[in-house]
Each structure stands twice: as structure tokens, then as C-alpha cells.
Amino acid sequence: MATFQDQSGDRPGAGSAPRGAAHKPSNSSSQPLLDVRAVSKAFPGVQALTNVSCSILPGEVHALVGQNGAGKSTLVKCITGVHPPDTGEIDFSGNRIDAFSPKHAADAGIAVVHQRMPLLPELSVAENVHLGRLPTRAGFLDRGAANRRTRELLGRFKLDVDPEAPVGSLTVSERQEVAIARALFRAAQLLVLDEPTAALDAAQSQRLFAVVENLRRENVAVLYVSHYLEEIFALADRITVLRDGRLVRTTRTSDTNETEIVTLMAGHRPSVGADVERSSLPAPDVRGAASVRLDGVSTDVLRDVSLSIDAGEVVGITGVIGAGGHEIARVLFGLTTPETGSLTLGDAPYRPHGPRDALKKGVCLVPEDPAREGMVPEMSVAANISMVDLPRFERRGFLSLRRERTTARDYVNQLGIATASVDTLVRNLSGGNQQKVLLARALAANARVLLLEEPTQGVDINAKREIHRIIRNLATEGKAAIVISTDVQDLLEFADRVIALRRGRVARDVPAADTSFAEILDVTVGADVGTAA
């Protein structure tokens, strides 16, 4: 709030004022910049945050870590005004936040830098930085002044971008810097960096770390959300660990180490589906029938990945977002052609030309985002199940709706899909049931190899348990199930084997019984990569 008036444009050269005057007095002040007290937030069916407190000091780099679903993004959304907390209080710069909206947060001086910043590619860097507050002279835009001011701002934070370049011509990391500059121009005192290195290569990441150091020097606080602990240990002053929507601990980085943080993140979560028995070994003749192999496969994302999955096996592939799990699914489903390496399905070389070809050869993808990639929401349950193999329901050139519904009803019963009827539109179903409709479609496709992306994401615990059971049953029937998930705990509970990826490489390939949550977490997010057995 204190610096808000700086932005009216009446002050000549905002950057020339004594630095720091616009910001909170000093780093040593014990008064926290942001003070979150006992915040709870629930969504239908999920308690996302329970009684979480944490504080961020002025000029501090504060890391927020936790497993998927630990509540990191919900906490960020509470702080940045996207979700008002159900209970609890948030103070910023000594003022109570009582109106929650992204605009209020931005006006107060809290800015988020997402991976996908809403920048306007056709406009210049300076125009993007000044957007909505472009300086004018006699009623006309004063581009010269905008460029000059932007150059000063960029210089102050050692951001290396040309103010006059169109944003569309910049690299991902340069765009990120423009987004940071825009936030700083709006006098942000707290920058939230949400997985800032996910889309960056090593050199770009280094550049970002330098920017973060400069922010610290300029007394701007940073809330740094990342999966990568090595980054966090290199940058952060303090670390807050969340688990299952609760605060585990906030600690000074100098007082802890990676092993301890991994242990805190892992905790001891109650088992979801202890009743899922890993099937007895499938009949020997089934084994190998649908085995899938990748040999030295590389793509934009993957680096020399070799792995094999047998019929009757449930294999979990995990890793942080961008580590390559989904890329493996894309390769197997014919959506990405490997640059090098080869695929084998059964005994024959496998080169899928696209989804249709992959399906014909018995490989079916159950995509991660049912709403975007899976469902046709305006069609019925039956039509969504049958669409993968419509010719099967044709009689003399016409669709037999009766056959279609009968088949759909079988699957609805078999998988326990909760729906009023098979004619119900899929958009009226809950998330877990939509997932099951997709599973039913995979069954209808009669696939031998199932690629399941995040099959239990966003579903409640009962649906989760049932989906585990269904996948295990499919494996027992001789199918190969490949489950790509960021939920490690989940995979450990029902997969036979877990393959952990890190930055496109297989970091570990181990039977689920012989590993632990902490170990997998360590190889996917920890620093010691080379030690994988």
C-alpha cells in the first residue's frame, strides 16, 4: 500500500528515487511482511488447508514445499486473493486483508508470476510492463518515457531484456523476467514464484536464481514454490513444509538438510487402500503377451529412456511435473515420435502413427484431464463409452442404440459408475465417475496396454480405492497397466513397480515393495541424482 501512489506517473523517473524509500524500512525489522494465521480452507469433499500459519519477512526468500495435494497451491491462492480462506487471518504490511480478490492483492503489493503469464505478445516489453498505466503526453502515449522507465527498472534488478522488443520474440525465461518487472513496476513487495524453473533449462534457471538474489538485495520478498530441493537450498532463507493441508514446520535453511525436508514432506500418511491385494502372478502364458519396451528413447523431454512393462503388471511412473511421465504416455500413444530409440510391443517393433493406430494395436490412453482431453460432456455416458469403437455397435450400417446401452450398462455395473442412467450426460457426473467412464471406454476399446494419466487425481478416497481395484483387476486379466502419477504414495500402494523419472531420465526402477515414499521423493526432487542404483 505504502508505495502504491508511486505508480500514478507524476513522479519523474520512479527508479531515480533513493532506493528502499519506497519499500519497507529494512530487512532487520522483525515485523513480518506477510503474516498468515490459522488459515483453513475447504472445497467440496476436501479439506485443503487446516490451521496453517506462516510468515514472510521483508526481503526474505521463503520456500514453500510439499507433495502434490499438500496444500501449496491453495495457500498461494489464499495469499493472492483467488480463494478467500474459510477461517483465519492474513496480514500484509501490517494491514489486515479483508477483501479477497486478485486485484486487491495486486494493489496491496502481492504479485504472482505463473508459468503462463498473461503477457501480450504483440506489445513491447515496456508496454507490457506499463500495461494499463502507460504514461501519456498531451493525451498521447509517451513510448519514450515508458521505454526509459522500463530500462531503469530492468537495470535496477539486473534484468537483461530490451524494453522495445516485442514480448512475442522473447524466450520463456525472458518473458518470466518481463512478468517479474511488471510486478515490480506495480510496487510489489511480495513476489510469488510458482514452479519458476519448470519450463527453463539449466542456464536459464541460473539466470533466474541471479534475479531472485537481486530481488532479495532490493528488499523484495519472494515466496518460492518449487519441487526441486536443490534450488530451494541454494536460494531460500527459510522453508515451510506442508503436508496434507497442514503446516509441518517452518525452519531456517541453515538449520536443516535435504534428508530432513524429504522426511517432513513424506510423513506417515495413512494408507488409502491397504485392502488392495497385489494379485497373484498371472498365468505364465499371459506374461509377455503384451509386454511393452522402450529402448533408449529420447525426445524433447526424455533422455535415453529404457524400460519394459509386462502383461499382468501395474507399473507406476512418477516424477515432478515435466520430468517425462506424460511424455512416455505420448510416445506410446503415437502423439510424439521419438528422435532416437525404439519401441517394442509384444515381439514386434511398435511405431504408432497416432491415437487411432495405437488403439488398433491395443494401446489405450486414459488422459489426465478428462474435461479437456477425455470427455465429450454433452454426450451421454453410453455414447462416451462407445465412441472408441463405434463400428462394433453397428448393425446393417446403423448404430444399435440398444446394444450400445446394454454394453454401457454392463460397464457401469462392473465399474460401479454412479449415474442415473447410461443416457445421463457426462457433464452431470462427478469427477471420479467421469474417470470411471474413461476407464470403461478403455475396456470397450479392448486394449492390452493401458496408459493411465493421473487416474486418481481429484477424486475422493472411496473412488480412489475403487480405481485402484479396477486397475489391479485389469492387470490380473493380463493387461499391462502403466500409471503415470505424481502421487507417489498412491503408486506405492497399488503398483507392482515404480519408475521414478527426473528431468527426462529414469532415476530409479524398483519393485514397490522394495522402496519407500522418502526414497522415491528423494530421487525425484532431491539433489543427489547420481546415486540411483
Binding site: R356, S380, P391
Partner: protein, 344 residues
Amino acid sequence: MSVDPETQVSATSGALGSPAAAESEVGPRRRRTWTSITIGGLDLYSLWPIVVMILIIIITSLRASNYLSVSNLENVISQIAPLGIVTMGQAILLISGGIDLSVGYNASFASIVTGLLLEHHHPLGLDILAGVAAATLVGFVNGVLAAQNRAHPFIITLGMSIFLFGLDTQMTGGAPVNDMGGLYTTFGGTFWGGIPTVAIPLVVVVIITYVFLRWSRLGRQAYAIGGNEEATYLAGIRVKRTKIYLYTLMGLIVGVAGMVLAGQINEASFNLGQNYELESIATAVIGGTALFGGRGGALRSLQGVALYGVVQNAISFAGLSSNYQQMALGVIIVIAVMVARASR
């Protein structure tokens, strides 16, 4: 019954509605609002064009004694027949997330091809075949271009429309071909057992469209593509090929409409199908077909055509100029889209 949007239509149509249709609107999370009130399984909101139509008929009949007559009904049917045919094709494309703005000049194109061949005394059957084939070819080209996903079909078919306007004018030299021979004797105000003959191709096209959307693989794929193209592709459906088929089918339907139009007024000219592009989109949307794909049906869209015809007819009965028809149509389109939005 599996594709729900069509189910609502079968309920509204009375004659074609089956008892089973009623149950299909059951949705666990459907909120009770005025738009979801059903009476005896009939969904009130999707019936609104018919309700409005009946109101207009009642009001007009009170003011004009000769309004409710067989000859006036025949009048209305003759007026809407060619548009109704085009609307069926447009509905299929809209459901698939596509659109065709070239239908007007494509219908003209078909009539001109047939008309010019007739002038040279070729046999009628062959001429009709050539005209329809020409329009089908245009549809095929539209489909091939639209399937590339390089440009929105709106632009592609707009370009095609402008191209065809030039071609039509060039072929006729701007002057209409004035003798459609056998086509005129078939469709030019002719009746079979009291029914205007133009109603026959309309009914046939409506039935084919209804069956196509409900019981054919391609029709189902049209709903799927319009509802979620990405998901449809990932489900192994050949999206490009399906689009080409659908646009080609549209061309075929437009060719038929061109024949009916030319026969009705006994001429082939570049402006024969003028405005059909926008009118067919408007009537399909008024009837309840979604402008951006995924929902709609043959009988629903026919509802829109019927309302459009009745409004036109009532306004001319009231002695008002055709300018008022345009104004009324504009109002109805906006209401239709808002009602559709409210029901979501």
C-alpha cells in the same frame, strides 16, 4: 437415445416422440429452474419456438379471417421448404463445430449448372445430377480446407462464398436462366394430393438428417467433434476425414435445395440462394442447435425453420412490409441465443 440433444427433440415433436425419451433428461445435479420444468416428459424450454409460433398463429387468426386456411398453410410450406433443407445441413455442421457460409451461392451455383445444361437440351435427369454434383464438389473442397485446421471454417467458407458469387455471375452473365423445364413442372406451385411438391424433398431431407444424426456413425462423430475435438481425436476417431464427409454431405444437401429453389420460381440465377447462409444458421440456432457445436438436432432445427416461416407469413398477412420480417427475425435470434444460454 444415447445422444441426448436429439432426445429432447423427439419429445417435442409429438408424433415422433417415444415414451422412453422422457427419462433421458435425468441428471443428478440438474437444478430446478423454469428452464428445466418438464410436463409429461416434455422439456418446456426447448419447445419455446413452437409455443411462440402457436401464439403468433392465434393472434394473427383473430385479426385476419382468411389466415387459417389450407392455401395459406401451403403457402408457408412452400416458402420454408428450400430454407428448411439447407438448415438441416447447416445443423449437422454446427453440431460438429463447423459452419458453412457458402450455402447461398452454392445453391445458386447448383441451379446455374443445371439451368445452363437444360438450355443446351441435355436430358433433365443428367442436368440435375450435374447440378447436385457441382454443389457436392464445392462442399468437398470446403471440407478438405476446413479439415486442415489452418483457418476457421467461417473464413474458409466465406472465401468460398465470395468466389462462388463471382463464378455464378460469370457463368450467367448476370442474367438469369429462365426455363427450368421439368424442374418447374415438378416444383413450380405443383401439388400432389393437396401437398405442395416442394414439401417432399424437405420431408425426405429432414428424415435423413434425423436418422443420420441419431443412428449413423458419422452423425455420432459429428456430436463428438463438436463437443470436444481433442478428446474425439484421442479416442481414435479420424476427425479430418469425418469433417470432409460432413462438408461434402452439406454440399449435397445444398445441391438439392438449389434444385427445389430453381424449380419453384423457374429460374437459375446468382442471387437465388442469397441470404441462405445467415438464415440457415439463424433458424438452426433458433430451434436450439448450439452455434459452437455439440448440441442440436434435426427436428429442433426444423422448429426454428417453422417459426421463421410463420413469422414471415404473419407479418405479410398483417400488411406490414418485409422490413418488419427482418426486424422480427433479429429479435427472435437474440432471444433464442439468450434462452439457450439460460438453460445451461
